[in-house]
Symmetry: C2
Subunit: 345 residues, 2 copies
């Protein structure tokens, strides 16, 4: 191993004091520094490779035995059925290890890296970030510096720790079933607007799986929902009015599917006789909807548990072999899908 | 005002040192004391009235700007649709005031008052307790000593701070509607087992409102669910098999109602033509179920927000006029209720 680089080395290279290095790397607000100085210190630290553990250790000062669950947009708590299960999984592992969980939204207009602010506040030792966005520079910088972060979702950063599902596997099974049932014109109602990582991942998987079977999914057959059953209902109305020939819809998640079912019925199409609908997540209510929802099963409680376990092991400096955990998905067949109806002649 | 009683007075009366008084009242584990000594100190403190603020202040040592949301049984996170909204309301107020929220389950077999342990750990300044149980001695003792606690629910303690709904108002409106529609044999599927405060309150309100209209609700027309749609489905099957003459069911909440609807359909009874179903909570998905659910509307986000606001004001020693806040409820009429079907002759 190379000799350990210290903040002294960074200070020398940047031509500043060690205190200045500490201020910059801690992103302290106590002293105001020019952007120029700040940049010089960061560049020097990067040049010398003074980043991973030393910087993280500086920031992770406390031993709070508390982890943060970061939900960038807490408003989705109003309608989302997934987060509570994730929280349950986290709580179960926390209880085993004597840890606690702080549920935190990101500030709307953070003045500095909001993740670091949280850790600096000594409220948490590390964090689980839900639905991370690939274009979040603060999050990326955290991972670059080996900060204790576990993603629920992925930003495809080679160094990330994350817990994800084999989304494509479950979607492939759903597409297989629909194609076998004769469906060729398939629409989809993603659960969040275009550009969000989780939605883009599911949409790309669906497109690829359909393409493998020679079926096209043009953008006009995609109508975006926004987490609520109501948004699923409205998006489905738009989709089916534009493309009445659609015979099957992949809903972005089970809550969206509630609205997709009601919209189809509102348009006089019974499910599954006239139109087939597939959900995603297999939330506990899915089996009891009318009709019982055929959906892609994921284990959200387990995802939370694995994320908490991974984070706690990170915080305890345990050796981690599998940085990016992939949990399986599977199709659960119930009553919301059927053979494509005969075309009217 | 009387002269302020100090720990010195308690020590004198109990015949122990001030350090011992502090150890007992802080419930510290650091030193082991005999039960006899412990009792003597507690008795002396009680005799002298050395409890309310002084003891609370001793325990509330930190200023963490973090509040705890205490969910006694975290397993309900798997299926409950109410808690996430409550959490959203708490988050919104916290964001305004720079506070944070720790979501915490109670240990299954706590060795000492689990609420105090939490505060002693310096992780939180005060707490919001969800679905408190009237027979919880630890919680009662906390409120006796003016500990910073806000209940979501009520244990009818005269000193409690709590945020509740005018449950009876909404249930009265639902009963009025059902009776007007000709329903006389009404069953109910509470959302949790018998004996839980929230369930008992809703059940008592329903019984009273039915009695006012000369309608009896015998225990045989009550089948308890347990938070999930599945439990609602199973309980409804039992209820309707035992009492096929029931023409309307009050579901304990909207998630239970999903299962109640599917169970009625499974028994060949269409909703609302053959049987009417009323939910409770008006969760965001309720309007999009099939049929759209008639339900008692409560504002869960607001309940969380008011509880957080009340707690933060308590922590800031602000004067609080309204200790027990009651938020309104109302009936939202949709498609799941209709006139009682004509009797088969």
């Amino acid at each position: 191993m190379a000799t350990k680089v210290t903040s002294h080395d960074v200070a020398l290279r940047a031509g500043v004091s060690r205190a200045t290095v500490s201020i910059v790397l801690n992103k302290s607000d106590a002293v105001s520094l020019s952007d120029e100085t700040r940049k010089r210190v960061l560049q020097a630290a990067a040049d010398l490779g003074y980043t991973p553990n030393s910087a993280a250790r500086m920031l992770v000062r406390g031993n709070t035995e508390t982890i943060g669950l970061i939900i960038s947009d807490p408003a989705i708590l109003r309608t989302d059925g997934f987060i509570p299960q994730l929280l349950l999984g986290i709580s179960e592992i926390n209880r085993e290890h004597g840890f606690h969980v702080l549920v935190e939204g990101l500030p709307l207009h953070p003045e500095k890296n909001p993740y670091e602010s949280l850790v600096e506040s000594r409220r948490i030792d590390g964090m689980i970030v839900l639905n991370p966005q690939s274009n979040d520079p603060d999050l990326k910088s955290l991972i670059d510096r080996s900060f204790p972060v576990v993603l629920v979702g992925s930003i495809r950063h080679p160094q990330e720790y994350s817990v994800n599902f084999t989304t494509r596997q479950g979607i492939a099974a759903a597409v297989d079933m629909l194609v076998d049932q004769g469906h060729r014109i398939i629409g989809t109602v993603p659960f969040s607007p275009k550009g969000q990582v989780a939605t883009d991942v599911r949409l790309a998987a669906l497109r690829k799986e359909l393409a493998r079977r020679g079926i096209d999914l043009p953008e006009s057959q995609v109508e975006y929902g926004n987490s609520s059953a109501e948004s699923g209902h409205m998006a489905t109305l738009r989709l089916l009015r534009r493309h009445p020939q659609i015979t099957a819809i992949m809903a972005g998640n089970d809550t969206i599917a509630i609205g997709t079912i009601s919209a189809a019925k509102a348009l006089g199409r019974s499910v599954p006789q006239d139109i087939s609908i597939v959900g995603f997540d297999d939330l506990p209510f899915a089996a009891w909807l009318s009709p019982a929802l055929t959906t892609v099963h994921v284990d959200a409680v387990k995802q939370g548990a694995r994320a908490a376990d991974l984070l706690i092991r990170l915080l305890r400096n345990e050796v981690i072999v599998e940085r990016q955990i992939r949990l399986p998905t599977s199709l659960v067949t119930r009553q919301s899908c059927a053979k494509v109806p005969p075309r009217p002649t």
